[in-house]
């Protein structure tokens, strides 16, 4: 609290343009130990805006005008707040306080450690047991006769950024483990990340070898051979170096580098060309700028998107995952993945491949386990990458953002494949940055253990799991074809889109209730209630008639829609001609002519149902005469300014709907 100079300022104006807001709100600003809180004066709405101090990424004080002093608050979730203070002194005080509060110097200042977790010890302990990497190894059937647990790192002596629990090839002796670890950057030796039970191929991860131009290590070569031996179906493995080839070569000058195919006799090298954290950081800044342009032309936007390079990087990450998944599922060949240190790009590539390979990771729980294992336990440096503490800005980079975005891009191609929706990905990202729970605090398992986080804070997963209702994807069905088996995405450039939900959330004209995900979710919820009511009714009916309860399940057969095929053959054939071949359209009931009544049968609705749908009850604002309230239709205040109308130059008469 000693950093708060002014806990309360009145008559402050707040404007959040990215949320589509056009007129500033007038209200009171409060500073607490953990949050900046703005409460609107308006007696009816009294809208509150809460900003966690750890979400603040930047503070600016642009020159003030006659109306007061300005403070711009930039957040890690890309919200931007413009605050206008009547008195300059207040502005200076708030700026100074927030500058300190948003850059905590030690973990103990963070929100997750500032609350008292002992209020509910049982709940806290439960929260940490919800998601454990060990559950995932069990699910994969480990240990087995190919992969075994090793205690070599139980005290984090072999590698301080690895978890205590490691699975390695049965053919690797303790000496080989130690030797290999010594030959790998930061001791990160090849260990198992994912085991494919159908093909027995495995995905392993490590860091770059300390080979330099010609260095080699017998143990490390034996280690790689041991990985290969653990897959009885193949006599070689792929080594996927996720870096661009040039970067990998440059590393040799520093005594690091990559595996030489001459020294490791049984490998095939593949470079994925994912750029480093510094390139990614500035690329994300550029795509953010694209989303924040005030009234860009289409060319400005598309060229900005191209110049940001962001989608190119997203594609590179997905391509790396696709390569690994194909090797494991289609060729049955094991893969060893690394980058430089093996905690950024390696985590991305391994977890993307896992999601493609394994339907379980496309569920909510599965994704949590995957992140807990591949990211948290394997030493992805959350506190450095997401700037939890005041530190080196060059350590910050949107590595997890890219993984989450790949999932979003995949969900665009496979709308029914994921159990969770976009909101889950966005909230997960926010939680990684805000560090409101202990899960993402620190940079390694060792660090977290020494901080005794499990005794001092809650796990992020229980929080997300508790709120799972709002994260369901209504289209997800476990039995659907895209839910099963390996996902094979199309990675042609035109399949990638800008993630609007993250980079340009204001540009969503329809209110949330008009979005299919929300609408379908509420319909499904309604169906559940109806089912409940139906059961009650049947019981009452049985009680009244004295007949035994006959639970009838309402089943609606699913209609097949195969539009492309149905309309594939063009117009229906004529009847006025006789053709050299037997008139096929009339002979085969199953032929594919759009205008054929015969094949319409396949998509007739169930009896008693006919579309178009009738308007369901007259909801609010649906009265046809109530045309006065079209503010609800999304875009507020499209007023045509005089300078727009009548402007001689057509170019400047742009609509104000941006």
């Amino acid at each position: 609290m000693e950093h708060i100079r002014t806990p309360k300022v009145e008559q402050v104006r707040l404007l959040q343009r990215r949320a589509g807001q056009r007129k500033p709100l007038l209200g009171t600003l409060y500073l607490s130990a953990t949050h900046t809180i703005f409460v609107e004066n308006h007696p009816e709405t009294r809208r509150e805006t809460w900003v966690l101090h750890s979400m603040v990424s930047g503070l600016e004080r642009p020159p003030g005008g006659p109306t007061g002093s300005q403070l711009v608050l930039r957040c890690k979730d890309f919200r931007v707040f413009h605050l206008l203070f009547p008195l300059e002194r207040d502005c200076v005080d708030v700026h100074a306080s927030l500058t300190r509060l948003s850059r905590p110097e030690s973990y103990s200042e963070l929100y997750c450690l500032s609350i008292n977790p002992n209020t509910n010890q049982e709940e806290r302990e439960k929260s940490w047991s919800l998601v454990l990497p060990s559950q995932d190894y069990q699910r994969m059937g480990l240990p087995n006769n190919l992969w075994v647990a090793t205690a070599a790192n139980s005290e984090y002596k072999m590698c301080d950024s690895y978890p205590a629990q490691l699975f390695v090839s049965r053919w690797a002796s303790p000496a080989v483990l130690m030797g290999s670890s010594r030959f790998r950057s930061r001791g990160r030796l090849p260990v198992l990340s994912y085991f494919h039970q159908d093909t027995l191929a495995a995905m392993c991860r490590c860091s770059q070898p300390l080979s330099g131009f010609s260095g080699r290590s017998e143990e490390d070569e034996q280690m790689v051979t041991a990985v290969m031996k653990a897959n009885p179906g193949s006599d070689f493995i792929y080594v996927v170096d996720t870096r661009p080839r040039l970067n990998a070569m440059a590393n040799r000058a520093a005594g690091k580098g990559y595996e030489s195919e001459d020294h490791y006799g049984n490998i095939k090298l593949h470079f994925s060309g994912i750029d480093n954290i510094h390139v990614m950081r500035s690329s994300q800044q550029r795509i953010l700028d694209v989303g924040e342009q005030r009234t860009p032309s289409m060319s400005d936007f598309l060229l900005g998107l191209e110049n940001s390079g962001w989608l190119k990087h997203i594609k590179a990450v997905l391509d790396a995952g696709v390569f690994i998944a194909k090797a494991i599922a289609d060729e049955g060949v094991s893969v060893l993945v690394h980058c430089s240190d093996g905690w950024d790009r390696t985590a991305q590539a391994c977890s993307v491949a896992s999601v493609l390979l394994e339907p379980y990771y496309r569920t909510m729980k599965g994704l949590m386990v995957l992140i807990e294992k591949d990211w948290v336990s394997f030493g992805h440096k959350f506190s450095h990458r997401y700037g939890h503490l005041d530190g080196d800005p060059r350590e910050v980079s949107p590595v997890l953002d890219q993984f989450l975005e790949v999932l979003w891009q995949l969900a665009q191609q496979f709308p029914c494949a994921f159990q969770f929706n976009e909101r889950f990905l966005l909230d997960l990202r926010t939680l990684a940055y805000s560090c409101q729970e202990g899960t993402f605090l620190g940079n390694s398992e060792k660090e977290r253990r020494s901080l005794r986080l499990q005794e001092r804070s809650f796990s992020v997963w229980s929080r997300l799991w508790r709120e799972r209702e709002k994260y369901w994807n209504p289209l997800y069905r476990a039995e659907q074809s895209q839910t099963q088996g390996v996902l094979r995405p199309n990675t042609t450039p035109y399949c990638f889109k800008m993630w609007k939900g993250l980079y340009s959330p204001a540009e969503t004209p329809a209110p949330p209730a008009q979005m299919p995900v929300d609408l379908l979710s509420s319909v499904r919820e309604g169906s559940q209630q109806l089912e409940q009511e139906l059961a009650n009714q049947q019981e009452r009916l049985a009680a009244l008639t004295g007949e035994p309860i006959s639970y009838q399940k309402v089943e609606v057969p699913k209609r097949k829609i195969n539009q492309s095929q149905l309309r594939y053959s063009g117009p229906d054939p004529p009847t006025t001609y006789s053709y050299p071949i037997t008139s096929p359209a009339q002979d085969h009931g199953s032929s594919h002519h759009a205008a054929e009544p015969a094949n319409q049968k396949t998509r007739r609705p169930a009896a008693g149902l006919s579309l178009p749908l009738e308007p369901p009850g007259s909801g609010k604002g649906r009265d046809p005469d109530d045309l006065s309230s079209d503010l609800e239709s999304g875009v507020a205040d499209l007023s045509v300014g005089d300078e727009v109308i009548g402007g001689q130059n057509g170019e400047e008469a742009g609509l104000s709907s941006e």
């Binding site: 860009p296 032309s297 289409m298 060319s299 598309l302 060229l303 191209e306 709308p415 029914c416 289209l475 074809s481 042609t492 450039p493 035109y494 540009e507 329809a510 008009q514 299919p516 309604g526 109806l530 009511e533 139906l534 009714q537 009244l544 609606v556 699913k558 209609r559 829609i561 492309s564 594939y568 053959s569 063009g570 117009p571 229906d572 001609y577 053709y579 071949i581 054929e596 998509r603 169930a606 149902l609 579309l611 178009p612 749908l613 308007p615 369901p616 604002g621 649906r622 046809p624 079209d630 239709s633 875009v635 499209l638 045509v640 109308i645 130059n649 057509g650 170019e651 008469a653 941006e658």
Partner: protein, 549 residues
């Protein structure tokens, strides 16, 4: 008949057909007057029936005696036929080329096509101007239906009946027509029930370099203004293009002569520029070897998305003037048959919920495109793969459909139809068994006896099974004005048309199936619960007999 002369080889055996996302088929290839047919003659296998008029261009390749013909269709699909025998391949190729470029409209397939479905309602009579006027009459008595163009003499591209201000007589209309490009004097396009404001459309005024004026034209459009109110003229051209038009006898409404009107210039491109964009866009979509940078820069260079943005922006502006400013609007470009119609029809999608229903949308296309004289015959005779130099071709209608798709995507629950209706209209505008899109104007349709000799597309669409197929399961009538976002990040590439043949549709279809299923299941439950509720209510009033008097 003539077709036989063009068909040198009517059938070839052992032809292999390759299509996107479908297994290859080997079978017999047959050419008829209107179709290219491939049949494997086996039960349950696919056949190909392709209208010659859907073929945009072909490409021949030879490898030894095996010939290959790549057929590029106007709906942007590409199929490949492997034909054994060089002579057969050459013959088939030249026949296809001849048959797909027949000049005479009366040889087109719609004249030969007989429907294999029951026509419930004759589409040629579904959307008559007099019926549309009845709806207007119910709202206002300020407008009348004029027969001044009864015999298409005043304006060759207008229908025989047009709605004009009640107080303006036919003589005035004739004189105003003489002052407007192509005789297209200002007529009513849309009446906004909420505030009585209107949208009109016309051709450009023929002011020329010496600033001609026409009192009757001024009287005509001033008659649409309420006392003391002003209106907006939306000129779809930039000011410099409009200035240049003066040299060719055209021009724009000057402030001096039209003091009650304020003019806004926008920049919607036309004809060749649009055709060029379409060709570039489709080329970019079909090259799958691009890197991300190259794809984005080619997408940008095609300018297609820029056109979409500009058209939508202008339509929003027109809608804004009417709904927010409470002002009437006159829209025109040069001829008033292309960009003008894009703007007036899209503004109605935004303003009028009726246009977002299946029937209403057909009515809109009929009113604002077909009756309004968009020359479909000229504009849609070639698509993106044509090798010949474009003359009058332009994808103006496709751009309109693209814009509708953008709005539909942003308001997924406010439209009664799905994207499928838009794709269907795109296909049929370019090649069809129906006569709806033949010819260039109402006058031509009469001259060609299309209503008597061909079937209307609407006859086919407006059958329960087809309506069902096109219905949006998420539809909930929304009586509000819907304001789409025109920010570039809100406007996407229309995958349903441009990437349709490059990506497997299966996953999206599954999602649609699931959506339909969730909603139908809910309705079925609701029905069941309601019927049980009634049954219970009945039982409960019966069981305890006569407790209350």
């Amino acid at each position: 008949m003539e077709f036989a002369e063009l068909i040198k080889t009517p059938r070839v055996d052992g032809v292999v057909l390759h299509r996107p996302f479908m297994p290859t088929v080997e079978g017999t290839l047959c050419l008829t007057g209107h179709h290219l047919i491939l049949s494997s003659r086996q039960d349950n296998t696919e056949e190909l029936w392709l209208l010659h008029s859907n073929i945009d261009s072909i490409e021949k390749r030879f490898l030894g005696s095996l010939g290959t013909i790549i057929v590029k269709c106007k709906d942007l699909r590409m199929i490949q036929l492997d034909i054994p025998g060089m002579e057969e391949c050459l013959n088939i190729g030249s026949s296809i080329e001849a048959l797909s470029t027949l000049d005479s409209v009366s040889l087109m397939y719609p004249y030969f096509y007989r429907p294999m479905f029951e026509v419930i309602e004759d589409g040629w009579k579904s959307f008559l101007p007099e019926d549309a006027f009845k709806d207007l009459e119910a709202m206002t008595d300020e407008w009348r239906l004029s027969e001044v163009n009864r015999d298409f003499r005043v304006c060759t591209t207008y229908p025989p009946l047009v709605a004009v201000p009640r107080d303006v007589d036919d003589d005035t209309l004739r004189k105003a027509a003489g002052f407007r490009h192509g005789g297209r004097f200002p007529v009513l396009s849309y009446y906004h029930k909420k505030n009585g404001m209107v949208m009109m459309r016309s051709g450009q005024p023929l002011t020329g370099t010496n600033g001609r004026r026409c009192k009757e034209d001024e009287r005509l459009i001033n008659a649409t203004l309420r006392p003391g109110k002003r209106g907006y003229v939306i000129d779809t051209r930039t000011i410099s293009v409009a200035q240049q038009a003066k040299a060719r006898g055209g021009g724009f409404e000057t402030e001096a002569n039209y003091p009650q009107w304020r003019r806004i210039h926008k920049a919607i491109e036309r004809s060749n520029v649009l055709q060029d964009s379409l060709v570039k866009l489709v080329e970019a979509c079909n090259d799958q070897s691009h890197s991300m940078d190259r794809w984005l820069s080619k997408l940008e260079a095609s300018n297609w998305q820029t056109h979409v943005k500009e058209i939508l922006t202008t339509a929003c502006l027109a809608a804004q003037c009417i709904d927010r400013e409470g002002a009437s609007v006159l829209v025109h470009g040069t001829e008033g048959t292309d960009s003008t119609l894009q703007v007036t029809s899209l503004a109605q999608i935004i303003l009028d919920p009726a246009c977002r229903t299946i029937q209403g949308f057909q009515g809109l296309v009929e009113r604002e495109w077909l009756q309004a004289g968009h020359p479909f015959g000229q504009r849609c005779s070639m698509s993106a793969y044509s090798n010949s130099k474009p003359r009058h071709e332009a994808p103006g209608f496709l751009l309109f459909l693209d814009c509708v798709w953008q709005v539909l995507r942003q308001f997924p629950c406010s439209f009664q139809f799905t994207e499928q209706l838009l794709v269907l209209l795109f296909e049929h505008a370019y090649a069809s068994q129906f006569g709806t899109f033949l010819g260039n104007s109402a006058a031509e349709r009469v001259r060609l006896s299309l209503p008597e000799k061909t079937v209307s597309l609407w006859s086919w669409v407006n059958r329960p099974q087809e309506i069902d197929h096109l219905s949006n399961p998420l539809y909930e009538p929304n009586s509000l004005v819907i304001w789409p976002s025109v920010a570039p990040q809100s406007l996407l590439l229309w995958e349903g048309v441009f990437l349709r043949w490059n990506r497997s549709p299966r996953c999206q279809e599954e999602a649609r199936e699931e959506t339909v299923h969730i909603i139908e299941h809910n309705k079925e439950l609701q029905n069941k619960v309601n019927s049980l509720r009634r049954q219970l209510a009945q039982l409960e009033t019966q069981e305890p007999p006569l407790q209350t008097p």
